[in-house]
C-alpha cells in the first residue's frame, strides 16, 4: 500500500473485508432466503462492493499519477532514476526536485490539460499498458528501449506554460522568449529542446547526458 494516499486504500480494504464477511457467512451457513438475508446480501453484493469499487478506483487513479508507478515498467526505470537523482541536471530531474511536482512529476508534466485532459491522459495511459504487456516492451532491453521509446506526439509547450505562463516580466525580459513568442505559442519551437532549455530526458536522445548538462 502506498502511504501518500492511504484513506481510499484503507477504505477499500475495510469495505472489502465487511462485504467478504457477509458473503462468506452466506456461503458457509446457507441461511434460508428471507427479508433479513436479502437485506444482508444487498449490502454484501451491492452497497459495500460499490463503495469499495469507488474507493479502489480513487486509489488507482491517484496511484497512476505517481512516479514510482511509471517506473514500475522496467523500460521507464532509467527515467525514474534520473528524476530521483539529486545530481542530475536534466529538465525532468530539476522539476522533480520542485515540491509542486514531487512524486507525481511524470504525470504533472505529461498530463493533458483542459476539461478533457484528465480522462484523455488516463485513456492514453491504457495504451501504454497495452504496449507494455502486448506490444513487446515488457521484453525489450533497456538500451533498446531508450532508443526506441518516444512521446506519442510532440510535447506541447502549453503543458510547460501551465506554470510558466509567459506573462511575468522575468519571462518577457528574456530576448529569445520575446523573439520566439509566436513560434512558442504555435509549438513550432519546443521549450524542451537542445537550443533552449534542454531535453527533459537527455539520456534517450542522440547526445549524451554530460554534453547536455554542459550547455
Amino acid at each position: 500500500m502506498h502511504e501518500s494516499y492511504s484513506l481510499p486504500a484503507v477504505l477499500t480494504l475495510a469495505l472489502a473485508g465487511l462485504a467478504a464477511t457477509i458473503l462468506f457467512h452466506y456461503l458457509i451457513f446457507r441461511p434460508k432466503l428471507n427479508a433479513q438475508v436479502r437485506m444482508r446480501l444487498l449490502f454484501g453484493l451491492g452497497v459495500l462492493p460499490a463503495a469499495c469499487a469507488a474507493a479502489s478506483t480513487a486509489y488507482g487513479m491517484h496511484r497512476t499519477t505517481e512516479r514510482s508507478f511509471c517506473g514500475s515498467c522496467h523500460v521507464m526505470t532509467v527515467h525514474q532514476e534520473d528524476a530521483e537523482n539529486p545530481e542530475s541536471n536534466s529538465l525532468a530531474a530539476r522539476h522533480a526536485r520542485n515540491p509542486m511536482f514531487g512524486g507525481t512529476n511524470c504525470y504533472v508534466c505529461h498530463a493533458d490539460y483542459g476539461m478533457l485532459g484528465y480522462p484523455m491522459t488516463k485513456i492514453g495511459g491504457m495504451k501504454h499498458v497495452y504496449m507494455y504487456y502486448l506490444g513487446g516492451y515488457s521484453k525489450m532491453p533497456i538500451a533498446e528501449a531508450l532508443k526506441d521509446i518516444r512521446v506519442a506526439k510532440p510535447y506541447p509547450n502549453s503543458n510547460c506554460m501551465q506554470c510558466h505562463s509567459g506573462g511575468l516580466a522575468s519571462f518577457k525580459a528574456v530576448r529569445e522568449h520575446r523573439a520566439l513568442q509566436e513560434d512558442l505559442l504555435s509549438n513550432r519551437v519546443a521549450c524542451a529542446s537542445a537550443g533552449c532549455h534542454g531535453y527533459s530526458h537527455p539520456f534517450n536522445k542522440d547526445q549524451p547526458a554530460e554534453e547536455h548538462a554542459q550547455r
Binding site: 480494504l13 472489502a16 436479502r38 451491492g46 488507482g60 496511484r63
Partner: protein, 102 residues
C-alpha cells in the same frame, strides 16, 4: 420479452445462483484489494476494470435471484390458493352428501 423474463424467473435456481453471486462477489472484492496491496500497472488496471465487471455481474445475479424468489413464491402461493379453492369446492359437494351420514 416479458413472457421470456417470466419464464426465466420461474426457472431460475435461486439458491444456487445466489451462491454463484456470492463467489463472483468475493472474486471481485479480491481483485479490488489486489490493486491496493500490489499496485503495479496490470494489477491496478484489473482492479479498476475486471473487478468491477465481476462486481456488476454478482449484483445482477443477486437482483435476478431476488426477483425469481418473489415470482416463485407468488406462483407457489397461487397454486396453494387454487388447491385450497378446489378442495373447498370438492369439500362443499362431499359435505352436502355427508350431512346425512350417521
Amino acid at each position: 420479452m416479458k413472457a421470456r423474463l417470466s419464464k426465466l424467473l420461474a426457472w431460475w435456481p435461486t439458491e444456487k445462483m445466489l451462491r454463484v453471486a456470492a463467489v463472483t462477489g468475493i472474486v471481485a472484492l479480491g481483485l479490488m484489494v489486489l490493486g491496493v496491496l500490489d499496485p503495479r500497472p496490470l494489477q491496478v488496471v484489473i482492479s479498476m476494470s475486471v473487478s468491477q465487471v465481476f462486481g456488476v455481474a454478482a449484483f445482477f445475479l443477486f437482483l435476478l435471484s431476488v426477483a425469481a424468489d418473489i415470482v416463485q413464491a407468488r406462483a407457489k402461493l397461487q397454486l396453494q390458493l387454487e388447491a385450497a379453492r378446489a378442495a373447498a369446492a370438492n369439500g362443499g359437494k362431499d359435505g352436502g352428501g355427508a350431512t346425512g351420514a350417521p
